[in-house]
């Protein structure tokens, strides 16, 4: 078995992708300018958030997210042993490297600051969280208020009569700058609580592991998990709509093949109109829900791709007609959680432990709603709005002939968009032709070729020499990367081949069934009842299919992976972070998923 992964400097550029580095901010690619440092670090591919090649603009969220995460560790809370998570792009893929504090004296010196700063957040969590909700909604409102329109032939008379002294071209550029600022601000907010939330969770986790050395990780997750979680709300809204359709007898409309025809049919009756009003009410905000991680402009949002939510409503209607109870048994879920907490508490050896258990669980539960809910507000809702605004802007430039279509804007780096806007604006101002249509026409063609070449490359799971043990707590929590998983990646090249995969025992139970390997949200429709879903990762918006599958296997993610959370919720076995599930398993093969031990076995086929 090899003891290291390739150096980033040993990796070759795929044929046809020459010059890919220029598609990203200059600080993103590995470079000889920092070779000594970059070669000394261990980098892993972040398949949880960026499993695919990033187009130039999409790398914006990558940079904003990682810098924001890092900033809170390093500069706000002074997490004693951890600085940020360094980030690079190699052949279009995201590679991360957690940076620790090496000097024990420095760690020691950070402790009092951490106690003061993190302590403040823990003590005032409820108030600060409420404030956060206000901030995030304000931010979304402001993003919604930005509009991107083609520049007028002549300015409105009011611009003159009100003495505004500035014009539409300036507004357009300012709005783009504002949108990018809001995106960074959004990511600042995203990490305001998250790292501290994980710290409190890890503390409870560590306590449980000491009190019960063999306690399954998922038992701990179950004790902390919320019962009513915003991330489940979009699915709840679909069920509500399905029930309404059946109860008000408009469910017949859903026999129409397309969403447009369903809507047309519903418009024809009062009950149908009432259903559509309820749809509108549910859709804002709950259907600002991405079918992917929300980090790619190509991720489909329910609100904009009605076939997805309508398809789910149709499935739920069919279940209701069969007399299936589709409601989420909130009381039973709550009772089960209380039982688990009660029984572990009872098994503790001393009263002192029971007091500590309750205290730590209490804090973990105070912080956990943020950990569970932020994803909806940031990656789903805010990102949906932002992608929509960006497409509007792309549409403006497409209309001017800069682009072939609105989504071409994502082939520009975020700092190239102002240049294109400047070109558009200045030519408009002068009253002549912009260079853009020819310039970008040629350049985007070249970029498309590069991205296609990059997509055909498969990224190694990691780069450089791995540490003996992975100690950075967030790396383990967020990405599910441990010393063990790294060893497994290293060993995978050697074959093995006994038809079994190892991952996180993420949701208990054992299931056998035919596998269905899918790689993206648009394949969800292929999944048949009773099959075992095998995917690189899953998104919260896939929730409705969890009602019909037998188990889930993912390539990436740990205990807190979405697939893990949803499977625990649905009582389905799940093994996450198998690294090679989608590569090893073929659709139709019978597999056995053991969610208690974290193993997946290919039985036949």
């Amino acid at each position: 078995m090899a003891d290291r992964f390739p150096s980033p400097f040993e990796i070759e550029t795929p044929a046809g992708a020459e010059g890919w580095q220029e598609l990203y901010t200059y600080s993103l690619p590995f470079s000889t300018d920092r070779r000594e440092y970059e070669d000394s670090m261990f980098w892993f591919q972040d398949g949880v958030h960026w499993p695919e090649v990033m187009s130039p603009w999409d790398a914006t969220f990558y940079e904003f997210a990682l810098a924001s995460l890092s900033q809170y560790n390093t500069r706000h809370y002074l997490i004693p042993p951890a600085l940020g998570v360094d980030f690079r792009v190699l052949n279009g893929y995201a590679y991360l490297s957690p940076v620790g504090v090496a000097d024990p004296a420095e760690i020691e010196a950070r402790v009092p600051h951490f106690l003061e700063r993190a302590g403040f957040y823990f003590q005032n969590w409820a108030t600060l969280y409420e404030q956060w909700m206000g901030k995030i909604r304000g931010l979304i409102d402001e993003m919604e208020s930005l509009s991107f329109e083609p520049l007028p032939d002549k300015e409105d008379l009011a611009v003159v009569t009100e003495g505004r002294g500035m014009g539409s071209g300036f507004e357009l550029q300012r709005s783009y700058h504002r949108l990018v600022d809001l995106a960074l601000q959004l990511w600042q907010y995203h990490f305001e609580f998250l790292n501290l939330g994980y710290a409190a969770y890890l503390d409870f986790f560590g306590f449980c592991k000491q009190a019960f050395p063999s306690i399954p990780d998922l038992a701990i997750a179950k004790m902390v998990a919320g019962v009513e979680v915003d991330l489940f709300q979009p699915d709840e809204e679909l069920k509500k709509l399905a029930r309404l359709a059946v109860d008000s007898r408009v469910d017949g409309a859903f026999s129409q093949p397309s969403a447009a025809e369903v809507i047309e049919a519903l418009r024809g009756s009062d009950a149908g109109q009432a259903w559509l009003s309820q749809w509108e009410a549910s859709a804002q905000p709950w259907f600002n829900f991405s079918s992917g991680s929300g980090f790619y402009h190509t991720d489909e949002v329910w609100l904009e791709h009605l076939e997805i939510p309508f398809g789910f409503v149709r499935d739920y209607i069919a279940k209701l007609r069969e007399g299936v109870d589709i409601s989420r048994p909130i009381e039973a879920i709550r009772a089960e959680r209380d039982r688990i907490v009660g029984e572990y508490g009872e098994l503790l050896a001393t009263d002192e432990d029971r007091a500590a258990f309750e205290q730590k669980l209490g804090l973990a539960r105070v912080v956990f709603p943020y950990v569970e809910n932020h994803n909806f507000y940031v990656e789903h809702w805010s990102h949906s709005v932002l992608w929509r605004k960006m497409r509007q802007l792309g549409g403006v430039l497409a209309k001017e002939g800069f682009f072939g279509g609105e989504t071409d804007i994502f082939l520009l780096k975020r700092d190239e968009v102002p240049e294109a806007l400047w070109d558009y604006y200045s030519a408009w101002a002068v009253g002549t032709q912009p260079r853009g249509p020819v310039y970008w026409g040629r350049e985007l063609e070249r970029r498309r070729g590069i991205l296609t070449a990059l997509r055909s490359w498969s990224p190694p799971p990691a780069l450089g020499r791995p540490p003996e043990v992975v100690t950075e707590p967030f790396t383990i929590m967020l990405w599910g990367i441990t010393g063990e998983s790294v060893k497994q990646w290293l060993g995978a090249g050697d074959g093995g081949g006994d038809g079994s995969l190892k991952g996180f025992a993420a949701s208990p139970g054992v299931a056998e069934g035919p596998a269905r390997v899918i790689f993206s949200a648009d394949q969800i429709g292929e999944v048949q009842a009773g099959e075992i879903l095998v995917a690189p990762l899953t998104a919260p918006s896939w929730a409705p299919i969890f009602g019909k599958i037998g188990a889930t296997v993912t390539d990436v993610g740990g205990m807190m992976a979405h697939a893990a959370i949803v499977c625990r919720e649905y009582g389905l076995p799940a093994v996450t972070g198998t690294a090679f599930g989608t590569k090893t398993i073929k659709t139709g093969q019978r597999i056995r998923v053991d969610g208690n031990q974290g193993t997946v076995t290919i039985l036949e086929g």
Binding site: P80, L115, S214, A356, P473, G480, F504, G577
Partner: protein, 362 residues
């Protein structure tokens, strides 16, 4: 005065008349634990024999005459007393009561001549039970009323084995300090059997039940001849969290003439799990019930009874307190005094760098 007492009618007030072993079985049944059915032959029955003039005379007379430091003489004395106990005619009422109870047991087990274990269950008003554990005889696979009565008297007479006589003498006890009740309990013919601990024997984790299982009777596991399949079951989630299936080359089965014999395991069964997942969970639940009942970690022996329906097949043979981890003083894991300090410790020294084998991951 009653000579027979059903184990499932056990009344703690009667402990002295039933002996420790019977009392323990009775208690388990009263707690709803699935112990094979049976009855106790009380000390009153024993006294009908012990009080028989011939026996009385033999005991006092012989004991006075013999030099107990001479092993050969002691053996001879023991044999003489035992012969006398086994040969005096059995009190009619005792014989009738035992025959009737056995007939009823056969009926309960829907078997013609149900095989039973006949166990000594010594009792004393002055001594703790443990001080004479293992001193007396047990007979397995006894069938039919005649055989039962014969082994009943042999159990009684086992109060006077050379070892038991010497033991009492060493301790300075009177020879009537103990009396003998006898337990008669249905034999289990197991497809698989084993042990279970209501904690993880590797790390003392009380949230788990460790189950060890092998084909057939438990002899192979006890002697170490068979490496059992081993399972860890989380008590709270009720799920199997670890499973190791071993190569089980031999097993002990019931052969012709009620003889337990050692046989090679057929190739296809050697590496097959000796328990299904549901059976593992059922054993774990059973062990957990015993732990709840006794309010301390238990070490139990169980068997999967081939003669019972699947959902009732797991039977409890014995339960005793676990001793290794339970003796260690419970030390608190954490304190409530400074929660922030604990968070810092978690961050600075994550669990998996503290030398624990359990990392939060695969």
């Amino acid at each position: 005065m009653s000579f027979v007492c059903w184990l499932d009618d056990y009344d703690p007030a009667q402990r002295a008349r039933l002996g420790g072993k019977n009392a323990s079985l009775g208690e388990m049944l009263a707690a709803g634990l699935p112990v094979p059915p049976g009855f106790a032959v009380t000390v009153d029955a024993y006294h009908t024999v012990r009080g028989h003039p011939e026996v009385r005379q033999a005991v006092t007379g012989l004991l006075d005459e013999v030099d107990l430091d001479d092993p050969a003489a002691l053996e001879e004395l023991s044999a003489a007393i035992r012969r006398r106990i086994e040969q005096v005619p059995l009190d009619d009422a005792v014989a009738a009561a035992v025959r009737a109870a056995y007939a009823e047991l056969c009926e309960r087990c829907t078997a013609e001549a149900v095989p039973v274990a006949v166990r000594s269950s010594a009792t004393s008003e002055d001594l703790p039970d443990a001080s004479f554990a293992g001193e007396h005889d047990t007979y397995l696979w006894v069938r039919g009323p005649t055989d039962l009565l014969r082994h009943l008297t042999r159990c009684w007479s086992s109060l006077f084995t050379a070892r038991a006589i010497a033991y009492r003498r060493e301790r300075g006890y009177d020879h009537d300090v103990v009396a003998m009740a006898v337990g008669v309990q249905q034999m289990v013919r197991p497809t698989a059997s084993g042990v279970a601990f209501t904690l993880n024997p590797r790390d003392g984790d009380r949230s788990q039940v460790a189950v060890e299982a092998a084909w057939g009777f438990g002899e192979g596991i006890v002697s170490g001849e068979v490496t059992p399949d081993s399972f860890l079951v989380d008590k709270v989630l009720g799920e199997i969290v670890q499973r190791t299936i071993s190569d089980k080359a031999v097993e002990y089965r019931l052969g012709d003439g009620d003889r337990v014999e050692r046989v090679e395991v057929a190739a296809d069964r050697r590496t097959a799990p000796s328990l299904s997942d549901d059976q593992v969970k059922a054993v774990a639940r059973l062990a957990r019930r015993a732990e709840r009942h006794y309010r301390c970690p238990q070490d139990v022996e169980w068997a999967l009874d081939a003669d019972r329906p699947d959902d009732q097949a797991v039977t409890l043979l014995q339960a005793r307190p676990e001793t290794v981890w339970s003796r260690k003083a419970a030390k608190p894991v954490a304190s409530v005094a400074d929660p922030m300090a604990s968070i810092v410790a978690t961050l600075v020294s994550p669990l998996h760098t503290r030398g624990s084998s359990d990392t939060p991951g695969p």
